[in-house]
């Protein structure tokens, strides 16, 4: 068994001992989506617009929180230092995390998508599989950003403060509240630089255009590129030698 699969197995085993977290990760998005449906009870168009966006916001929020705390613990409890004295490479370690969280994110996105398209009657023109893949790409982005946040925090108190600092601005500017096309110039320019803008553009394309449109695939590629960059940048913060 190589370092990546060993690490993924270990992360999944940690989750297995923590059924409450797994239950919250998988159950809360479904509950929130149901609430959204009733919030828009008299405005079905509103639900058709906001519902798909929520599908890519859930994986970002949950994976950012889970991975920032998990990696902060690796750094502060001495397990990271211990791991780096074994033959495990830093990229294998992160690939192991990515593998475990991808599985979890796929499961989460599968549940939300099935519920939304089935029971809640949300209609998406595009490929359902691509919706799940986009959500999983966003989960990897959450992992990368969480990894980076963990490098700049010394405690769990600090690391969760990076949520309003790094994730909330993206949610304000991603086109969830106001379409990006209607934002003032400066905000529009900033939103062009933020990865979540492309995730939301992509899910809008998937909602409106049939199959796997070129535009949706392009947005998926951009999200994946951001996710990989964040993870690679984060890998540089995993220092073998520390004070």
């Amino acid at each position: 068994m190589n370092g990546t699969t060993a690490t993924a197995t270990r992360v999944l085993r940690q989750l297995r001992h923590d059924p409450r977290t797994v239950g919250l990760l998988l159950g809360v998005p479904a509950v929130l989506m149901t609430i959204l449906k009733f919030v828009y009870e008299h405005n079905p168009v509103g639900f058709e617009r906001a519902g798909p966006v929520l599908m890519v916001i859930f994986p970002l929020v949950t994976m950012f929180l889970v991975s920032s705390v998990a990696l902060l613990r690796e750094r502060t409890t001495g397990t990271l230092e211990r791991l780096l004295t074994t033959p495990l490479s830093r990229l294998s370690l992160l690939a192991g995390y990515a593998l475990a969280f991808t599985l979890l994110a796929t499961l989460q996105a599968g549940i939300v998508t099935a519920l939304s398209l089935g029971t809640l009657g949300l209609s998406l023109s595009g490929s359902t599989a691509l919706v799940v893949i986009l959500a999983t790409a966003v989960a990897l982005l959450g992992l990368g950003l969480g990894l980076l946040a963990s490098a700049f925090a010394h405690s769990e108190f600090q690391v969760v403060q990076f949520f309003p600092a790094t994730i909330l601005p993206q949610l304000l500017l991603c086109g969830l509240l106001v379409s990006r096309a209607h934002m003032v110039g400066v905000l529009h320019a900033i939103s062009d630089l933020l990865p979540m803008s492309y995730a939301v553009d992509g899910i809008h394309h998937l909602a409106q255009e049939p199959g796997a449109s070129t535009a949706a695939l392009g947005d998926l590629a951009i999200v994946l590129a951001f996710a990989l960059s964040a993870i690679l940048l984060g890998a540089l913060t995993l220092k073998r030698r520390t004070d």
Partner: protein, 241 residues
């Protein structure tokens, strides 16, 4: 890089370490004889852990020359040949003892059955399926120790492995260390308890980031004319300007 002279697993020459802007280890020189147990003995805060971290290649701001099994401390090839038991628990609290060992075993690449064997050797077989979170301090330190013993390391660097253990278990672990040394493994074992020094082949006395002496326990008492190692240590401290 200096050449490793015959019979030494680790050689350090004029080794200094800076932490938080000040020097905490001041130009120490020592060598660890291969296949022997060297005790790194001295009070807490004297630089023992920093020295060990420099040897296993995770300490920043190290100056001077260090050669570990003929290699630089941070070389990748060394990581398969070295076992490091940290003082604080370096294991996942939300995994069982066995799951922790299985993970580290997969990373190091051990022969089949070693996890099972090690659980017995460190007396954790009855707690193997409990979460590490629920263990006592002494049990936790044995988890760290067991992860360090995985694989077939040629050099074991163990930071305070016997802290908080009852005398029976302590005796057993020293028996284990002795057995490993007999099989050719080099051990560096730190302790702040003087009576542990007597169990080592050689003692490296460290205080305030300096090596006070390196000798066998018998030589130390003889040289200082002291009755025991505790007194020998005190005399060595007094001798220094």
């Amino acid at each position: 890089m200096m050449n490793l002279s015959a019979g030494h697993a680790v050689e350090a020459h004029d080794l200094s370490v800076r932490r938080g802007g000040r020097e905490v280890v001041h130009g120490v020189t020592f060598a660890l004889p291969a296949g022997r147990i060297t005790g790194l003995i001295g009070p807490s805060g004297g630089g023992k852990t920093t020295l060990m971290r420099a040897i296993v290649g995770v300490q920043r701001h190290v100056r001077g020359e260090v050669s570990v099994l003929g290699m630089a401390p941070d070389s990748a090839a060394l990581r398969r040949r070295l076992g490091y038991g940290t003082q604080s628990l370096a294991a996942y609290e939300d995994l069982s003892v066995r799951e922790n060992l299985e993970y580290f075993a997969a990373l190091v690449g051990t022969r089949r059955g070693q996890v099972h064997e090690l659980l017995a050797r460190v007396d954790l077989q009855t707690t193997a399926d409990r979460l590490v979170r629920s263990l006592s301090g002494g049990q936790r330190s044995r988890v760290s120790l067991a992860t360090a013993l995985l694989g077939e390391p040629e050099l074991l660097v163990l930071d305070e492995p016997t802290v908080g253990l009852d005398p029976v278990l302590r005796e057993r672990l020293w028996g284990l260390f002795r057995e490993l040394a007999g099989a050719g493994v080099t051990l560096l074992v730190s302790s702040h308890v003087m009576d542990e020094a007597a169990r080592c082949d050689e003692v490296l006395l460290v205080r305030d980031g300096r090596v006070l002496a390196q000798a066998t326990p018998a030589e130390l008492t003889q040289r200082t004319g002291a009755e025991d190692l505790e007194q020998a240590f005190l005399r060595l401290v007094e001798e220094r300007p």
